[in-house]
Symmetry: C2
Subunit: 258 residues, 2 copies
């Protein structure tokens, strides 16, 4: 039915909501599988390894998923740095969690914990401290390039909307007066990396998500068609007011013929 040869798909709010299952999410993936259409789950989360993300889908949501179907902002950051770094630039100061550290180690970088770094990568870090903030600030003042996985301001947990990567990035930005390169949605690097991972042209893929400000703008910014599903964050009222609409809008993934 549809013209798309591959799908980029957001997770939270699109395929499930936290621990809540979306039956429509599983059915959507089942239809893609039946049609032999490749897809990649593209998530701004930097804290989890692709194995953890795949296991969550497989075990908790009954959506059988392999590691190569996952693309996190941590993986996109590692891919971006691999293309950017000279052979001598191997030292990365990570303000982030294990998912990010593992992705950078897997890509051949050395992790350092002081200001002698070629890159500072900031992300959600629930073990953030003033010392990390200080070393990141000093490293950037000394010339390290400043990268942020994402600038999501908050994430939900059982306590409420706790601080996200964006809060940590803002602290470093304020102390350095340097604006970081941002990797994840709505910025372009994660979409570029996802296209390269699936070896597909941007005209042949569609970005599916529930959040206009991240998922849909990421597609728009990268020149990729978009499908907004009203199962999560964005509302009709919000979309009525945006200048550039999603390519397609649906109430439920059940309404989409792959």
């Amino acid at each position: 039915m549809s013209k798309y040869k591959a799908y980029f798909i957001d997770l939270d709010g699109t395929i499930y909501q936290g621990s809540k299952k979306f039956a429509s999410g599983k059915r959507f993936i089942d239809r893609l599988k039946a049609a032999n259409i490749p897809y990649l789950f593209v998530t701004n989360n930097s804290t989890k390894s692709p194995a953890d993300v795949a296991a969550n889908l497989t075990i908790n949501h009954q959506i059988d998923t392999t590691i190569d179907q996952i693309y996190t902002s941590a993986m996109a950051t590692a891919d971006y740095l691999k293309q950017l770094a000279t052979p001598q630039q191997t030292r990365v100061l990570v303000v982030g969690e294990t998912g990010l550290e593992e992705a950078l180690l897997d890509a051949g970088f050395d992790l350092v914990q002081d200001e002698h770094a070629d890159f500072v990568v900031a992300a959600l870090d629930r073990a953030f401290t003033y010392d990390k903030l200080m070393y990141a600030t000093l490293a950037i003042q000394h010339g390290a390039k400043f990268i942020a996985t994402n600038r999501d301001t908050n994430l939900p947990n059982e306590r409420g909307m706790i601080p996200g990567a964006g809060a940590i990035v803002a602290a470093i930005e304020t102390a350095t007066q340097i604006t970081p390169t941002v990797i994840a949605k709505p910025q372009t690097p994660i979409m570029t990396g996802a296209l390269q991972k699936l070896k597909i042209a941007k005209e042949d893929v569609i970005m599916v998500g529930d959040n206009y400000n991240t998922d849909i703008l990421a597609g728009i910014n990268a020149g990729i068609d978009t499908l907004l599903v009203y199962s999560g964050l964005s509302t009709h009222d919000q979309i009525d007011q945006v200048a550039i609409k999603p390519t397609h809008e649906i109430e439920s993934l059940d309404d989409w013929l792959v």
Copy 2:
């Protein structure tokens, strides 16, 4: 000679520079003492107690100083909260150091370490952690009023320009989307508190400092005359470009007749 009955005086860059003594600073204070003119050292520092600030001046800079001649942003914050709080509003979550905690305890507030707070006060905190950021964020989301001692982005130490209160404030602001009330220079509350402490009218006092963006703007914002001394941060080039000039400009405090 001059018409001012009292002086508000900045410290770092004005009376000394870090551990470096300014002979002109000591001579200036000696002239004020000889003329029996009251003065108050007004500093954005929130981490030191007034006793520590007075001891530093007395011991390291040979400027005999008593506690009642010191007004820190921590003391100004405590004074501001005393006027703002109802009798039931006693719980303060401090993201800051001992100078701030002591000022608030002295003012009768209770310090809490979770989101059940009436006020969140953010400042420089070299023991800042993600948990403090999270509790501050949740408290403000639950209705606590957000106060910042100051928004200085950096402070010098032996390593370089390390992150200041402004970096910590920016993290909380990003996670809450709430702009804090700022107490210290260039904002007005610290000047209002200093006027009340000296029991003097704003027409009778002058604010002396080396930093246009904090000291001089604080005076301008509060309707207090200002004296810029080119011994620290601000340069002639900077002042050439500002719309509202200091009331007076001098190269050295030696050039000023009290």
